[in-house]
Subunit: 347 residues, 4 copies
């Protein structure tokens, strides 16, 4: 059995912690390094108390990162691109979980992130990390840029429609509801519990950075725009994307099912959820905590012209660490679902 | 000082309880009846424990409702229209908090509620109960139909734009986030805490009944449509409406401020909230629990073409009981803010 | 009507904000200063967004505090005692909401707070600020030290029992559940929403500082000890104290009711809640958010030997600002409930 | 490899659903029946939406339950004892998750449950299902009665102290905080989200039924009593037990650690958590959702006389289905941790 030496760079944050949890249970991972300067020398369970009794691993300082087979980069946005040469010299393969290598165009990067890209020539070498769109490229790639969490939810919701040219290309609105873990591990006035608890807080009504990825990935068969707004709600993990679509022509709900089944019927991590009974008729992120699923559902209005597509995922899993491990599995030819079997809890 | 005899019909539910709380503190209310068959004879604090030590009032059965000056009808949808003759014989004035008399068109009523209206000839006699739109009519009216909670949030958010013909009339999407109290006082499988807690649950992606009111009230200067979707989130009280608007022509943010200030600058219960500092930059329903405010904010995209308007309110207050008491104050010429002075809590 | 000039020192925190909210609505408050160095010159609504449209007041720097009639000190623990001479020179009357002047014994202060008291000679001049115990002293006092929030809940729960020598003096356990606002306005790793949300976190299993106040106040008729433990739960405002009492001799539930009614029957802000029907049989802090009530209930075991007394309050109201305003009302001879009329929300 | 035929009786509730989730992933389970009358014929994912795409299994009616090797009984209290003869005729081994066979004494059963036991002669044949206390008996037993969730938390917290005769036998108080899933799958007025959300609700200040189990299991080396009170808090899954102990003689914290390490050092599902750094110093149920861990910590007061022991677990896992599967593994000689490997999520 192939065994791989892995390092997680920036392992004390939330996406790093989830990557660590998943790789600790991965049968093909031989050695595991976890870097953190602030926790250097401490057990990883100091940062991630769920790993108590699960591992004796300790954090190493970033500077002591040793060569290995593959790096998972879980650094703040802007860091990976600055140090990418060092990272590429340490490992043949890289899976970057930051936003640094998601966009193909340096101009778009500048426009959305407000700075020049440090290594624009590298952008083309990274495969955009949604397996459902780029599975074959991932199998042969050495560099993967894991997709943004909101972007993953919106892209997976809309991809079948735009691929099949069914949706108006300019009128789609993605209204995204997000949990607090999306903003990372650092305490801020806005994340202070008395202020954040119970909040329903618009934080990017227009111009959300993930829009750039969404437009890039969905503009495959024809150029499209998607307007995205984000609202923080009372939730730690999870994203619900409500995508308001105007169809180019009237369709029936059977037409819609057919298209989604065709695209996603064999996908191990996509479940189509649009039921006419019970209380769980549409996707709900609560059911997905800790899983790598993206659940997708839809409702067509009675005129057959307006379609609402709803997708849900765990921002730290299918929106980050889970999808990165899925990419890792593809990269090495492991079973795509390895270490991602957790089916979620109810209630 | 004018003193009025009031009855609340259906006072054991949530809107009835809030109406009761507000009227207990109203200086112009002389006598107060509260009807409930299930709690007949019991202190009102059995249903509304916040009223302990505040009042000794007891529920009376519906059948024993005595004549008085004004009735607040807090019955389930469909009940008020069936009994409206009895109610009109008992009191000169009626404020109905149900959906029964909101729509002017019996056909629209049938289309959205699936039944024929029991008293279509009465529909025209009810003023639609949003004071910001119909204040003068309310002052002289004897019958008011209090607006739907989601409808109030969406209408107040969009009214200035449609009044001034600034927004595209067919492309507006209202994505509404709601709390659990909106569904009323009865326990259901969907309201069971282990299932409802932490839920982010799409419950009306298309065809929400409040769409009918929204379209009726916003189609004043020209016919408009608004697509509304609703999602239940972890919250007891509160609504956040995120309204995605395409402008007819490019505007500046100053233009937007000017229009909203012109329409709402003197409104006692509307606050414009669109700040560029701090963590409370846009409206948040959490701050509004127990208040009659509707906070409204907006963000214009950098092209000046897409406007996101955000409104927040407490569904039981400005979305129901508070707005009904505001209407009551207008009807009788009392100070419009009487008994609605609570400014809300932070944190 | 007597009108008083008031200043709130340290008005940008949570207890300061609540004091401000209450005093803005107080008919006997003539002028109001609110100090904050970090927000100096800014509208108070920048720190307390619930006050938008309610006031145009701005923060003044601490150094610019002007002389007035009474100061509410809402400073971090340890600050009031350091600057007390300045404060006493600026105003004749002082209500301190910190822990600095609660304990009568400098030795006890040192033992619990780990530092020497800066002004031990002043300790005796401050009345401990629970009106139910010290109402008469408050009426004639110029200095009041507002009680700790947890201490208020525990003392009010147990006071009738110890006053009447009914409870074993060494075996009482107070298990206190608290919300996140108790720790104040500053963000910390422990208050970061992803970590604090849903937490059930023991933070002072033994040796809680409020124990000192509790023991001081309850040792009136005979020396007693009370063991207190505190657990943070998912809640922003509120305290529930579950007090486990061993009775000296067997009693009936009627005996218990009689004692509590005797002590608290006329108290405006204490409600006895121990019902045998419905879902609100015992006190619940959720119902008390924004109110000055302390609800108290109890259950006696079938042997008549073990009594569980349950008390609930809003830590920022009856546990801080509300109780301070109640003290202010007593100090000046105003109606004790002035500005404290809010009855709370349901649901 | 030994393969076992299993049935879950009453599989549409919460403990049934968790048992189902665990057994679906168990390598030694050959065939699986799940009974439910209300969902007969429907996919199990209708009741447990987390199992979508995980299994195609459908519920069978109770009457169609077929013979197999082992039954997990997940019925409401009182049902298992009524039908136990039928169940014993269908399977050689039984693991009952209800309260029916936990108590050894029919008199105690009557006293706490208010009814006569239907099969008192069977009580002695059931091993009380906490592996840490009864592992050897479980290995050879055919009948196991899974322990109560609160009882498990309290017993595991206190067992080392009472086994070693360190704690006063009459003064222990267990103050238990619980989530809403403990009350089961049926909606009630008390579980209605607007009422239950944010509640801190005392529901059994005295006389909790689990007291009987606790006293039975802890009275091994000498007779003891434990007073237990329970409070519902805002949480779906989880229990925190705060146990207030008076030691017989002064001890040091090292003494305490030694005793707990001796008893639990080799236990796969107990973690000792009592740290002096960070924010996770003591056990927290949030970290344990979906896991079979019971985390236990403690703090000794500065006099060395009062010990607070804190334990946390997931009421549906170590408090029900997880512990039942642990028992199943022991019964059949499987690795004790099979199918219980999930380590929990952070944040």
């Amino acid at each position: 059995m192939l065994r791989v030496r892995v390092a997680i760079v920036g392992a004390s944050g939330y996406t790093g912690g989830e990557t660590l949890r998943l790789l600790l249970g991965h049968p093909n991972v031989e050695t595991l390094q976890a870097t953190s300067d602030s926790y250097a020398g401490k057990p990883v369970s100091w940062a991630h108390p769920n790993l108590r009794k699960r591992t004796q691993l300790r954090f190493v300082p970033h500077a002591e990162l040793a060569a290995c087979d593959v790096l998972f980069l879980c650094l703040p946005h802007g860091e990976a691109m600055k140090q990418i040469e060092r990272f590429e010299s340490l490992a043949e393969r890289i899976i970057d979980l930051s936003a640094d290598f998601r966009l193909k165009s340096p101009d778009t990067f500048r426009s959305y992130y407000g700075i020049d890209h440090a290594k624009p020539e590298r952008l083309a070498t990274y495969v955009y990390g949604i397996p459902e769109l780029h599975r074959e490229a991932m199998r042969t790639s050495r560099h993967i840029s894991s997709a943004g969490c909101n972007a993953t939810a919106v892209i997976l919701a809309l991809w079948p429609l735009f691929k099949h040219r069914l949706a108006d290309t300019t009128r789609t609105i993605a209204d995204v509801k997000t949990g607090s873990s999306e903003a990372g591990v650092s305490a801020t006035p806005g994340s202070h519990h008395p202020e954040r608890s119970g909040a329903v807080r618009s934080y990017s009504p227009t111009g959300h950075r993930h829009s750039a990825e969404i437009i890039q990935e969905l503009s495959v068969t024809e150029p499209v725009t998607v307007q995205m707004s984000a609202t923080s709600i009372e939730m730690v993990r999870g994203i619900l994307a409500t995508c308001h679509v105007t169809l180019k022509s009237r369709l029936t709900i059977k037409d819609i099912w057919q298209v989604y089944r065709q695209e996603y019927g064999n996908e191990p991590f996509i479940r189509l959820v649009a039921e006419n009974h019970g209380i769980f008729r549409f996707p709900e992120p609560k059911l997905l905590a800790g899983t790598n699923y993206c659940d997708i559902g839809f409702e067509l209005d009675k005129n057959g012209e307006r379609l609402v597509v709803i997708s849900a995922l765990d921002n730290l899993m299918k929106g980050a660490a889970g999808q990165a491990v899925q990419a890792f599995n593809l990269m090495y030819g492991f079973d795509e679902t390895t270490s991602l079997e957790f089916t979620g809890l109810h209630p």
